[in-house]
């Protein structure tokens, strides 16, 4: 029964994928979209069932299907594990997934390949479920690469545009760099523990099996590299902003709410391992903090509405990694959830705006949409407040927990994180002001067509905004349901902060910081009514920021270009060289042959002479040899 239900949970989206890919075109857009949505909804329903069950029984559901891989010293089963962590993830994956499917029915309605869009989206949900449900690292890896594939397919959904295809390719390849790390990590773990099952490994660690700590740390580091790729951390983050080439629902689902949090999921999954590698934890914390700051700084000056959100996502992910690095897994998870709500809402809201403006994404050509798009605006506002970390919105609670943990561990990290938060507040409100306030700056044509989006679009927005509003309730400071719920999957007990003076002071500081950010944005974009300058006019540090610290250019210069140059070198020089060695041998023999022809000169006299010479030399040799 449980097996069948679990399979239903897993395979429903896959069925949706199959139906859509094979029959989608014939079924028509509405049917195709509905089908796609329903299959995910089914998964959500099943998840809910399991969630309630596990929440009450506290016993994880384990499903083992068959033996998949056989190594010399370990076996990998095709098995699934529905425990607290995976169910939590499944809840928002399928839940938000369903909402975004609903949204997409309307959003993608004009696209000729809508059935494909839904197919890919279903496939994504399917792989995401595998990633989350797997009972060992390799099953997770299937999902891990699978979601990467879907991300590739969806970023490049409008495949006629080669720039989009480039972005898709970039995403896939950068993910693959991380994946290599992940794989190496799996190798080491498999070698150390003779298993890649979560339970086996955690039991082994809990019972104090003798393991080489050095290798263990390396394994943890490798896994973290994998997480970096998927969750867009320095140095592998540059694909995420580019990934905004995909349709907006994709950005919301994959590149904000679910897929990019896979790294956090993985590290939380393996928390027992990371606990043993404090050095790696430090690295994670530092990388997370720096990522959050750098991404936030870049986000300050971007003009593309989705790019801003993308950098904001990177920055928020950085904060989550910071929490992971500090060993506060439950806090990271908390932020993942709240972030999923408000960031999905923000992306969908921006999608709604883009939809209304027929594809316009540059904020300099927006403005004044507040009046036309009421629902979009309100939901957007709620989410913006949430991400900025203002109480009582959900973001406040999760972000504050992170800041507080950082404060207790390392003041420098806390300062960095706080700075990032202030910047977040600034650029989010900059975004809000530029988009919704003042007057419309686009063309007359666009102005004429401005409209609020249809209900299929606004409905998910409302739900998500509501969740963004109240999501913080699951882990209120002091009495956290989440910490309690997650306790069985975490090796160490949750970090518990006393609600003392320091705590309140920190909360206060965080709020003040957010208000400062908002204030600056307000003065600049409402009071002074500034509009961001054209690219050519940007100078100084702003230009560096605007150009994203030239990281892409640097990567191109130090990796891609040399690689191409090397390829060309290999192709034109070494291949020719290798080839000429072989041909050279042949040529040498042929030359010898040509030379030999002159000896064979046709003269009987010479032939006889050679004959006699041979005769004499043989006789002489025989005598000498004697």
């Amino acid at each position: 029964m449980e097996t069948n239900l679990a399979l239903l949970l897993l395979l429903a989206p896959f069925a949706g994928f199959l139906l859509n890919i094979f029959f989608g075109k014939k079924l028509g857009k509405t049917v195709s979209g509905t089908l796609g949505t329903l299959t995910v909804a089914v998964s959500f329903a099943v998840t809910l069932f399991f969630f309630l069950q596990v929440n009450s029984t506290k016993v994880p559901v384990m499903v083992d299907l068959f033996e998949w891989l056989t190594m010399a010293n370990f076996k990998v089963n095709f098995g699934f594990q529905l425990d607290q962590l995976s169910l939590l993830w499944l809840m928002f994956v399928t839940g938000i997934g369903t909402l975004i499917h609903v949204y997409s029915i309307s959003y993608m309605h004009d696209d000729e390949n809508m059935h494909k869009f839904f197919a890919y989206l279903n496939l994504f949900v399917f792989f995401m479920i595998i990633l989350v449900m797997g009972s060992n690292l390799l099953i997770m890896f299937i999902g891990w690469e699978g979601v990467g594939l879907c991300s590739y397919l969806l970023i490049g959904f409008w495949y006629k545009n080669q720039d989009y295809n480039d972005a898709a390719k970039k995403a896939f390849i950068m993910n693959r760099i991380g994946d290599l790390g992940f794989l190496i990590g799996i190798f080491i773990i498999g070698y150390l523990f003779h298993s890649v099952d979560y339970n086996t490994i955690s039991t082994a660690i809990a019972t104090g099996a003798e393991v080489d700590m050095g290798w263990l740390s390396i394994a943890a580091l490798c896994l973290f590299i994998g997480a970096c790729g998927k969750s867009a951390q320095i140095p592998l983050y540059t694909w995420l902003p580019d990934a905004m080439a995909g349709p907006t629902p994709v950005s919301a689902l994959i590149h904000a709410a679910t897929m990019v949090t896979a790294g956090i999921f993985m590290i939380t999954r393996m928390n027992f391992l990371f606990n043993l590698a404090p050095d790696v934890q430090n690295i994670i914390a530092i990388v997370g903090a720096i990522t959050s700051l750098v991404a936030a700084a870049i986000g300050l000056v971007q003009n593309d509405i989705k790019k801003v959100l993308a950098y904001s996502t990177v920055s928020q992910l950085g904060l989550m990694f910071l929490a992971l690095g500090l060993g506060a897994y439950e806090i990271a998870v908390f932020h993942v959830i709240t972030h999923a709500f408000f960031k999905a809402c923000l992306f969908l809201g921006s999608g709604s705006v883009i939809h209304a403006l027929h594809g316009e994404q540059d904020m300099r050509n927006m403005g004044g949409l507040k009046k036309v798009m009421k629902i979009t605006f309100i939901t957007f506002l709620i989410s913006t407040l949430a991400i900025s970390g203002l109480p009582p919105f959900s973001g406040f609670f999760s972000k504050d927990e992170i800041l507080m943990t950082a404060f207790h561990h390392n003041k420098a990290l806390w300062i960095i994180a706080s700075l990032a938060s202030i910047m977040t507040a600034f650029y989010m409100f900059r975004l809000l002001y530029l988009t919704f306030y003042k007057s419309f700056r686009g063309t007359e044509e666009q102005k004429h067509h401005l409209h609020e989006s249809p209900s299929l679009i606004t409905f998910p927005l409302i739900i998500l905004a509501a969740l963004a509003l109240v999501g913080g309730l699951i882990s209120l400071p002091g009495s956290s349901w989440l910490n309690h719920y997650l306790a069985p999957v975490l090796a160490k007990p949750a970090v518990h902060h006393e609600l003392d003076g320091t705590a309140y002071m920190l909360m206060g500081l965080a709020v003040v910081g957010a208000l400062i950010g908002i204030g600056i944005a307000y003065t600049k974009y409402i009071k002074q009514a500034l509009v961001p300058a054209q690219e050519s006019e940007i100078t100084g540090f702003a230009k560096v920021l605007y150009n994203k610290f030239y990281v892409d250019e640097i990567y191109t210069a130090i990796i891609v270009k040399p690689l191409y140059a090397l390829a060309a070198f290999f192709r034109d020089v070494t291949e020719a060289l290798f080839s000429s060695v072989i041909f050279g041998l042949g040529k040498a023999v042929n030359m010898l042959s040509n030379e030999g022809k002159t000896i064979q000169n046709g003269s009987i006299g010479f032939y006889l002479f050679a004959f006699v010479l041979g005769l004499c030399s043989i006789i002489v040799y025989i005598f000498l040899a004697k």
Binding site: S593, Q600, I604, Y607, F611, I618, I619, Y621, I622, K626
Partner: protein, 458 residues
Amino acid sequence: MYTLVAIAGLGILCLIAEIFNLRKAIVPITILGLLGSLVLNVADYGKTLSYFNNMIITDTFSVAFTSLFIILAIFLIALTPVVHKEHKAKISDFVAIKLFLLTGAIAMVTFGNLAMFFLGIEILSISLYVLAASEPKNLKSNEAGMKYFLMGAFASGIILFGIALIYGAIGSFDTGVIYGALLENNNVPGWFFIGIVMLTIGLLFKIAAVPFHFWAPDVYEGSPTLTTATMSTLTKVAAMASFFKLMTTLNRTVPGSYITIISIVAILSMTVGNIMALRQNSVKRMLAYSGISHAGFMLMVFFSPTFTAGTLFYYAAAYTLAGIASFAVVLFVCTNKENEDVYNFNGLGKTNPLMAGILTCSLLSMAGIPIFSGFFAKFFLFHQVFSSGHVAIVIVAIINSIISLGYYFKLIIAMYTKESTAEKQTVPFTYGAVALIALVLNIAMGLYPSFALELIFR
């Protein structure tokens, strides 16, 4: 012994048949006669008999080689009427000369006395001089005949001198006596060995080994193609077999330096032959050089002569069968052509797939590609040389095998990838039949190598 007499008699019969205007019957009768002598010959198999005061000794070695020669002669004679269809009057002469040539060849492997050997080699040579120069109006043929004759006569002189020295040292021409004398008395005069060396050199000339090979490409090219076929198949292996027999019976006290010389000559022959063959335009010249390299390969049997008689026979059979098949195709392609250059073969794969296929297979066999007998021949040879401990020469042989692919494939490529220059012709029955039978025998030997390999025993 009766084989020898029968074949000589057959030759005379041919000449008489011409007198009685039985031209048409000549070739069939000869072939039947040869088949008859083959039977006669095979009847002697397994026995060691001697005739005429040991002038002729038949053993398994001689019977095996005689059979091979007879079969080759049948092929060559079968080709004669088609080749000379415009000079019907000549047929009887050509057939008779070939029969005499065969007689010489058989004498060369059945001799029990150096006099018989000398007669055999001279009968063979003189017949060949005639055949080489058999187109008196063709300057090329003249030149070939002249070159071959001059150098051949020179070589005969050397062989004769060698025989004289051997006679002087032992006091007998009888190989048995010489063998016995060597067994009893190791202290033979020094000139005995010079005699052996001079005999060796004369035979190296006949098998066209470097540096006594210069005549071969020129003579092969200039001679009428059928004669070239005879030279490169029958003559070459007859000389080789004779050489082998001489050395195994006479050369009991082989000093190391003799083996060194053989190995140097073998290496030179292989290498020079293969390298020179690479840049030849004339197919006949190319096959001449290829023949030189094969002579080099065959010389490797002398490293362990006690065991290699079977291998030599196998190699000789494989090489000659492939040679006959290729020359049949060359004859077919180059009839009425000015020369035998490679471009004449362009597009043969399209215009005449059967002949192209046969030539391809024969060339592959010569190159030593399984499962043609040429491969097995090389394998058995390498195997034996390897067991005798001469690894270095095997490596050289292998490198040469690789080089040889270059020119064999040049011809194959021409046949299959280049556009045809000539009209499609129908294949005369004899060419097709001879080539096909030779190829089938070749492949059969490849599939069942034991038969030929174990034919010779003591």
